[in-house]
Amino acid sequence: MVSTSSTTTFDNVFLFLLVISVVLLIAITVTMIYFVIKYNRKKNPTPVNIESNLLLEITWIVIPTALVLAMFYYGWSGFKFMRTVPEGAMTVKATGRMWSWQFEYDNGIKSRELKVPLGKPVKLLITSQDVLHSLFIPAYRIKEDAVPGMETYLWFLPDKAGEFDLFCSEYCGVDHSSMVSKVIVTGEDAFNTWYREAGKKAAVTGKETQLKGHELVEEKGCLDCHSLDGSIEIGPSFKGLFGRRVLVTSSGKEREVIADENYIRNSILHPDADVVKGFDDIMPPQEGNVSEEEINEIIRYLKGLK
């Protein structure tokens, strides 16, 4: 089992680089200022012309070369450690989407926060539903982009219990800075209990779409852009949506429609077909993300939101 975490690895390499850098910076600055004072024109009216000094120049080509190679090597070995997933790591799928994360566990749990057990390495398989995102956990000094159509990975060893911030660090649009979540590290027992309980629920919902409308729009990330209370966020509010008259642009032409079942279904699957006036065409198409039953459930739920 691994015992060092990526935090330590990063901090060691960083410290090494920092020391070299600070020493060099001080040496250069001090020498420069010393020369400026010592050879001030008042004190030193006649300059000496020195065109070059081969030995000296070779020295300051060789020493930096050695230094940078050392820096490179140290960074590389740290990197190798950070890219080699230890065996037996727990796998969690992480999906980025505008603008929230979804973590999916082997037993079907879907969560907006990353819950992991203390002391057990975790491997994250990362992808994106729409544009680039990047999963960043500063406490563990790790980050990797979520690229649509591709799977990238990260691993880390949760070595302290507690809650840690999780950011999206690749610019992804208006709410990039609120695509923030948490890593929650709990003791193994507590984690296992949660895993079992939530897992049971997930197993049921997986088959019968038991998730009720509200949970559904939260889990699918709809609430990242749509409000339930009538306030306008990135997209139009869900409140009072059903039956509302909506002004939309369909392939360049403006028209008015009534938000009925068909319209809503179409808005979810192909949002770019009818773009609501006053909003950008940025809603990610939900085909493949939301099943037919789920859409029906959402529509049923929206009907009730007066």
């Binding site: 690895t9 920092l18 250069i28 600055t29 420069m32 024109r41 120049e57 982009d145 649009g173 208006v174």
Partner: protein, 539 residues
């Protein structure tokens, strides 16, 4: 040069000669490299102030978490415009088109650049590009909000006016290419008799190396930007995984240009620095050839390190290792230069005037920027600090602390040559002080907050990051004060400054042998060069 020639020319040299046109026309249709240099200088200043205002607004927004003065989408547009203006309209053209245009022919003993009309065209393209960029603000569906990197697929999906902004950058790329072609040909064809390659002033060497990078790297940007436009209009799908494309390929293409571009920004600045040190130390530079070749070396190796911007993007680990290694190699020529500059102060006879003060600030700030660049380039550490404010601090240190400070140094140094008058030394020093202090107060805290994990392009942040952000914002005001002082001093001195002779600093390069301001034809007679550029033996 106390002969009769100088008296005759204290009339305003090229400022007066209008070439058969009048007023404004004599400027915007001039083919005189000096007038074009001035045109560029004034347009750069306008865009710089615009960019800097956006910078100030961003800092104001970031003074506290949550909404302070603008909405999230406004913030996103503002950092995009800040980046686009600063990169494409200020710092990439920057030194070459203004100081370079003015001084390159003078320093090699020529009457003009090789293609004076292309030079003018290049300015016109620059202005056209600038106008198109501004147009993207007021037309269509709102200002672009992608960041200056225009990463796909977001740049293809967003509803904002990206196409126009991208087209602006495309036009500016053309302008940059024309300047590069012009300078290479000029250096090859128009050197005065006796001006051998190793008698060229080192500023010319730096411009020459830069010009090659401009010519060879910019086309890749052009095609990349064109592809973004094509994607947006025709949906070909090159960067859309749903259609088989690969978004990472966009990043490759973008950085194939944009990493070399950072050397387009810094290498001319290094040239300015190399020019100033010997004059104020009254001795020759240490290691002429090493400095000359390191410019070429930086330019050459700089082409193949672009992957260090993509260490967390999902590229293969093999290529990460190679890109990291090459990144370290490109630091070596920079190190050579820094050491040679410091050595050039050794046993000099140093007078600390404003240009030298800026140079000293440059060396200090560039070292911080460069050394943190190495931390960025290290595989293990990049993973954490990538796309945080640590990076923002790094590039402001190299771009603002490096290039812009060297630019300011050059402006002060060549001010009497360009305008025939001297600025107020006391005020200049005061402005320098504010700039230097303000700069560090503004950007140093960004290293800390970035190291703590605050991602960049964040409109809103968690309360843990509050303190450094407040300090940073206060720093931006100090910096603004310094900048305003400097600009006011310089602008005021154009009219009011004391008249100077042709060579107030006792410089030894050719531009100091002609009157200030230089006459239209530069040299009454093309000089014959018999020795290197920094010959201080005789005094």
């Amino acid at each position: 040069m106390p002969d009769g020639r100088e008296k005759k020319e204290t009339d305003r040299g090229f400022w007066k000669y209008e070439g058969g046109k009048t007023g404004l026309l004599s400027w915007i249709f001039t083919t005189d490299h000096k007038r074009i240099g001035i045109l560029y200088l004034s347009s750069l200043a306008v865009f710089f102030v615009a960019g800097v205002t956006f910078g100030l607004l961003m800092r104001l927004e970031l003074i506290a978490p949550g909404r302070t003065i603008m909405s999230a989408s406004a913030y996103n547009s503002i950092f995009t415009l800040h980046g686009v203006i600063m990169i494409f309209l200020f710092i990439i053209p920057g030194i070459p088109v203004s100081l370079g245009n003015f001084l390159l022919p003078l320093q090699i003993g020529a009457r003009d650049v090789a293609f004076p009309r292309l030079n003018l065209l290049s300015w016109w393209l620059y202005i056209a590009g600038g106008c198109i960029a501004l147009l993207s603000l007021f037309t269509g569906t709102g200002p672009p909000d992608t960041g200056w990197t225009f990463y796909a697929p977001y740049s293809i999906k967003t509803g904002t006016n990206v196409s126009l902004a991208v087209f602006a950058a495309f036009v500016l790329g053309f302008s940059s290419i024309l300047t590069g072609m012009n300078f290479i040909t000029t250096v090859h064809r128009l050197r005065a008799p006796g001006m051998t390659w190793f008698r060229l002033p080192l500023f010319v060497w730096s411009l020459y190396a830069t010009a090659w990078v401009q010519v060879l790297a910019t086309p890749i940007l052009a095609i990349t930007l064109l592809l973004i436009i094509i994607e947006r209009f025709f949906g070909v799908g090159f960067f859309d995984p749903a259609k088989g494309g690969d978004p990472i390929l966009y990043q490759h293409l973008f950085w194939i240009y944009s990493h070399p571009a950072v050397y387009i920004m810094i290498v001319p600045a290094m040239g300015v620095v190399t020019e100033i040190i010997p004059v104020f130390a009254r001795r020759t530079v240490f290691g002429y050839k090493a400095i000359a070749f390191s410019s070429i070396g930086i330019g050459a190796v700089g082409f193949f390190v672009w992957g260090h911007h993509m260490f967390t993007s999902g590229i293969s680990d093999t290529s990460k290792v190679i890109f990291s290694l090459l990144t370290f190699l490109v630091a070596i020529p920079s190190a050579i230069k820094v050491f040679n500059w410091v050595a050039s102060l050794y046993k000099g006879s140093i007078k600390v005037d404003t240009p030298l003060l800026f140079v000293i600030a440059f060396i200090f700030l560039f070292c911080i920027g460069g050394l943190t660049g190495l931390i960025n380039g290290t595989l293990a550490t990049n993973i954490h600090i990538h796309d945080t404010h640590f990076i923002v601090a790094h590039f402001h240190y190299v771009m603002f602390g490096g290039t812009a400070f060297a630019f300011f140094a050059g402006l002060h140094y060549w001010f009497p040559k360009i305008f025939g008058r001297m600025y107020s030394e006391a005020r200049a020093k005061l402005a320098w002080f504010f700039l230097f202090i303000g700069f560090n107060v503004l950007y140093f805290p960004m290293f800390l907050v970035g190291w703590q994990g605050m991602p960049r392009r964040y409109y809103d942040y968690l309360p843990v990051f509050h303190t450094p952000n407040i300090i940073s914002t206060i720093g931006s005001w100090i910096l603004a004060a310094g900048l305003a002082m400097m600009l006011v001093n310089l602008i005021r001195s154009i009219k009011k400054g004391e008249q100077t002779g042709s060579n107030p600093w006792k410089g030894t390069t050719l531009e100091w042998t002609v009157p200030s301001p230089p006459p239209v034809e530069n040299f009454e007679e093309i000089p014959t060069v018999t020795h290197g550029p920094y010959k201080y033996d005789e005094n």
